[in-house]
């Protein structure tokens, strides 16, 4: 049984079909990159995975559970913008990752101090300890995204969804964010879905690269058909497939 199961998903807005017949499965710990033309429904697919919207048809299950009806703790998300809370300091944003699930959304007394200590450890790890008391608006784009990822991970989601998280960053910052994300992933081993417009990034980070496109196109009514997954590349081993031998072949190979 795979971890994430997407079964025959359709999403239409009014009579505009956005995505159709999307089927896929992902194992726990897999990193799935999603690419495709602008407006083809990648963010829509992510919203469906998040359960922010419910599909017109089909269902999405995570770990075999019933399809979720609203966003919850098991799925984390980082958007391109507006992912952190502007009215909280950097430290408070991290603490929020733990405290929001409590009845008042905040910790008191000893629990508060402990959470702040943990938040400071997280901040040290994501390299934001020197700005812990500043508001997000004073941070650079890369720092804000690092904060957003750190905050999402503090809630320990089982699936992390990233919608063009590094879209607005310069190439240098982007590279260091890649390292950062790969480190975090090696540590937590969680399942990641990442939408990106950068093919190189998609193949570098992903175990798989899904391509969304419209396979059918009605010239009289472009809205009639939606996009679906047209390619599902194996992106492990630098995108060169069949590098890992699955069968027990009795042939000697380098360990």
């Amino acid at each position: 049984m795979s971890f994430v199961t997407v079964q025959n998903i359709f999403q239409t807005y009014g009579r505009r079909s956005i995505i159709e017949r999307v089927n896929m499965e992902a194992d726990e710990g897999e990193f799935v990159s999603i690419v495709g033309a602008s407006g083809c429904g990648k963010s829509t697919f992510l919203r469906l995975l998040l359960a922010q919207e419910r599909p017109t048809r089909g269902e999405i299950r995570i770990a075999g559970a019933e399809p979720a009806r609203e966003p919850g703790l098991d799925r984390g998300i980082v958007f391109q913008r507006y992912s952190v809370f502007p009215h909280m300091t950097v430290r408070e944003n991290i603490v929020a990752g733990e405290s929001f699930r409590s009845p008042w959304g905040r910790f008191f007394g000893a629990a508060r101090t402990e959470a702040q200590t943990r938040a400071d450890e997280t901040l040290t790890r994501i390299g934001l300890d020197h700005v812990a008391d500043q508001y997000p608006a004073t941070l650079s784009g890369g720092m804000q995204q690092r904060l957003a990822i750190g905050q999402a991970l503090t809630a320990k989601p089982r699936v992390l969804l990233l919608d063009e998280p590094f879209g607005a960053l310069d190439p240098g910052t982007r590279l260091s964010m890649h390292d950062f994300l790969q480190d975090l992933r090696a540590e937590t081993g969680m399942t990641v879905f990442m939408v990106t417009h950068d093919l190189e990034e998609a193949f570098k980070l992903g175990d798989r690269v899904l391509v969304f496109d419209k396979p059918r196109w009605d010239p009289h009514d472009p809205n009639l058909y939606g996009a679906t997954i047209t390619y599902d590349f194996d992106a492990r081993d630098g995108g060169i497939p069949f590098q890992t031998i699955k069968e027990d072949t009795h042939v000697l190979h380098p360990a």
Partner: protein, 270 residues
């Protein structure tokens, strides 16, 4: 250079700022001079020095009959009504703004109703308020609330709806309940907007206050103005008008300071 690109230097900016104030004072002085030259007992435009003397007398000398300095009693009574009215209005506006902005159920239930309510001219309700709540303090406070509340609710619920959907979704992925989202995400982001909305409501609030005081009261800035109107005491009226303007300006300034001091993360407005 294009006009849109010409920015005043600091001294020029200060000069330009003071210019209209000075112009009004000078224009008044000249007008008063001309009228007094024609008729020394003219009451319409008392000389600036007369207004000043009256102001000093009003502020410092006690009323002969009651032994109180009425100026300060008027001020206190009016400010109390204003603060109470605006305070109640702001609180109710905040609660309903949050509820309507965050909860689709409440939006379907109340949004249109509030939109229709806001179309009622509050002053037209004043007689009803006097009948229902009597001529005392209550009806004046209620008029301010009735007059400012629909705007506050509509403005604040709109601001809540404008909170980026991403943040609301993000909070849900951190496990926040509707209550926590209201308390920790929407409310803090609403506070600077509340202060702004209150600043914008203060104009109407003063209007309703003075109208209510003019009609039925025995104390208050508006009451005094309409009382001395009978004797054409322009010097007293002018003193009170300038004082009300100054108070309104100071309150506005204090609220802006409050907003900057406590919500430094919010971008600055005017």
């Amino acid at each position: 250079m294009r006009l849109i690109n010409i920015k005043p230097s600091r001294p020029l900016a200060v000069f330009l700022m003071l210019l209209p104030f000075a112009a009004v004072v000078v224009a008044y002085a000249i007008g008063s001079e001309i009228r007094l030259a024609a008729n020394p007992s003219d009451k319409l435009l008392p000389a600036p020095s007369t207004v000043w003397d009256t102001a000093v007398r009003l502020i410092t000398e006690a009323d002969r009959r009651s032994g109180r300095i009425l100026f300060w009693h008027d001020t206190w009574a009016s400010l109390q009504r204003l603060a109470l009215g605006i305070g109640i209005s702001a609180f109710i506006g905040l609660v309903f703004g949050l509820a309507i902005g965050l909860l689709p159920l409440m939006r379907s239930f109340l949004a249109q109703f509030v939109a229709v309510l806001s179309m009622i001219p509050p002053l037209a309700l004043l007689p009803i308020l006097f009948i229902v709540f009597g001529l005392g303090e209550l009806s004046k406070v209620v008029l301010i609330v009735v007059g400012t509340l629909p705007f506050l609710i509509r403005d604040l619920s709109q601001r809540v709806i404008e909170v980026p959907q991403e943040m609301i979704v993000k909070a849900q992925t951190l496990g926040a309940s509707s209550w926590v989202i209201a308390l920790r995400v929407a409310l803090p982001q609403l506070m600077p907007r509340l202060i702004l909305a209150v600043r914008l409501s203060l104009g109407p609030a003063w209007l309703f206050l003075i109208a209510a005081e003019a009609i039925a009261s025995d104390l208050g800035l508006g009451y005094r103005i309409f009382l001395v109107r009978r004797y054409l005491a322009m010097d007293v009226i002018l003193t009170y008008v300038i004082w009300i303007t100054l108070l309104a300006f100071l309150i506005d300034w204090a609220l802006r300071w409050l907003s900057r001091r406590f919500f430094p993360w919010a971008e600055e407005g005017l």
